[in-house]
Symmetry: C2
Subunit: 345 residues, 2 copies
Amino acid sequence: MAGPIKVVHWGLGAMGGGMVRLVQRRVGLISHGAVDTDPAKTGRDLGEAVCFERRLGVSVEGEARQALTGGDICLIATSSFVEEVFSQIVAALAAGLDVICLAEEMACPWADHSGLADEIDRRAKQSGCTVLGTGINPGFVLDTLIIALTGVCGRVRQIRAARINDLSPFGPTVMRTQGVGTSPEEFRRGLEDGIIVGHVGFPQSMHLIARALGWKIDRVEQDREPIISKTHRETGFIKVEPGMVAGCRHLARAFVGDQEVISLEHPQQILPEIEGVQTGDYIWINGDPDINLSIRPEIPGGKGTISIAVNMIPLVLEARPGLLTMADLPVPRALIGELAPEAVQ
Amino acid sequence: MAGPIKVVHWGLGAMGGGMVRLVQRRVGLISHGAVDTDPAKTGRDLGEAVCFERRLGVSVEGEARQALTGGDICLIATSSFVEEVFSQIVAALAAGLDVICLAEEMACPWADHSGLADEIDRRAKQSGCTVLGTGINPGFVLDTLIIALTGVCGRVRQIRAARINDLSPFGPTVMRTQGVGTSPEEFRRGLEDGIIVGHVGFPQSMHLIARALGWKIDRVEQDREPIISKTHRETGFIKVEPGMVAGCRHLARAFVGDQEVISLEHPQQILPEIEGVQTGDYIWINGDPDINLSIRPEIPGGKGTISIAVNMIPLVLEARPGLLTMADLPVPRALIGELAPEAVQ
């Protein structure tokens, strides 16, 4: 490919904006176009729209067509759900762009949307383009990293993993969707109403692991429980008194027949360390050999998602056409730009 | 590919024999041929030669040609060094087989043998075959796993990692090459004489990381120091008194210009826990974000090497022709056979 890789940014929220900033720091990448439906952003310069320290000479479009024209790859960071990003992916493919999508469900869209997944795959192949769903989780911690670790196992009986993080940096939207600050009764109702959702992505991580290992998952069970605080906890956004909900312990279990083969846990709460809970990413493989991995503290979600999406760009551009997963591509790596000797200092 | 994958085993030592046993447990793989120069093994049935619980109907050959004929992939576990496996790889390629080689230097043969590496690459492409060097280390812990973790980083300044293991299970050969049971003076002389070697593979791991990240390493410095025991330590093979050498602390540092970018440490000793040293694999990435990973205890070297080599077979068969590294292939994974539901129990 002659010249820098031309990146189109679709969605300029926290993740999309972060990717715009990272692309500017990378040799070999250039922001070519941008799409967002927020009227506060459309029509403005991309740099201004994401509070970057300079104008980028790219206008934020409300419609995708013009932004996509002439681009090489489209980074979609607009929604968590396959049904909502489907038309965006289709539009990018129709314009001849490869796609990296941060929608959690796109990490393995066959898990819950096999029809749409097959349709994306068909259209990608038709246009000779590649589509990848990725992110820190799903996309890395509770799936790709687990898969890689099984590579040193002669046998795998069962996989358990947990991602224990601190929600303190997050604002009102996340507090609401995780039920932070509710009473146990409000939490229960929030779950029923679909306002409290916990983590999006467990079935996707599980199906990604299972596809790689050759397991056929028969069912996935999920539970969302309130984490009741024993202490006073307070962030810039919310106060939690003893007896109130500090977060959501979301668990998922995957079964082959009656055998539980994968169990994933993602308790998300504010200030877990107040009650002695150390944040981290933890993986236990019951196999031959057993493996017991810890990453402390956990890989931060925002930075990790932004980084892996941008880092995968060259691997996606070189990949075969079709809808792929992280398990189909070479191991991720920090790539291109800023890693030259002068930048190491 | 119709029918099972036909595997040829070249080298039937501890690693080679372990791979024979693992291949028998895998659906989709069959031992097709075997080569070893040990007169105690040639002419015998492969199962008997590696103390497997049954005959395998495959004769161990002293010459490669007959064993290779009709095979799909050759697992070479004969030596640590590129110069010693070169002719074996060439023979397997000439017979039209893909190759997975456990020689530590083959994990990234360009590190110290770029001429031979290029020649292997040329011959592999010529015959439409793939060659991969792998193993637990080099091949996974201190390179592939590190590369994968950088994938969630927006910036990588420096990488440090350590693999702290226990040599107690090993016999006289390893005791000698690691200097266990020597006096500090004997250790120094053993290093000079080349009898004590420490770990083989640091330059390979470092170049593998650097190639993936786009760093150009200017030099690698290595140090081998005696681990002097403060206590009495004793295994079935050796006794170490206080003041004697319990093992070899092998360190390597890679520089870009004057900047140290990678530092790897592999202290190998008997019974480290006697002096409070916990075995494990440790990775620290100084970047954005920082990453702090532990695997405790360490991934066992023998099982890990045997498993990853066999697990990579399908990925190597599907890969493009040429000499590849672990960074070129999809993430490793425990694959095929024994992972069906009935085997999970």
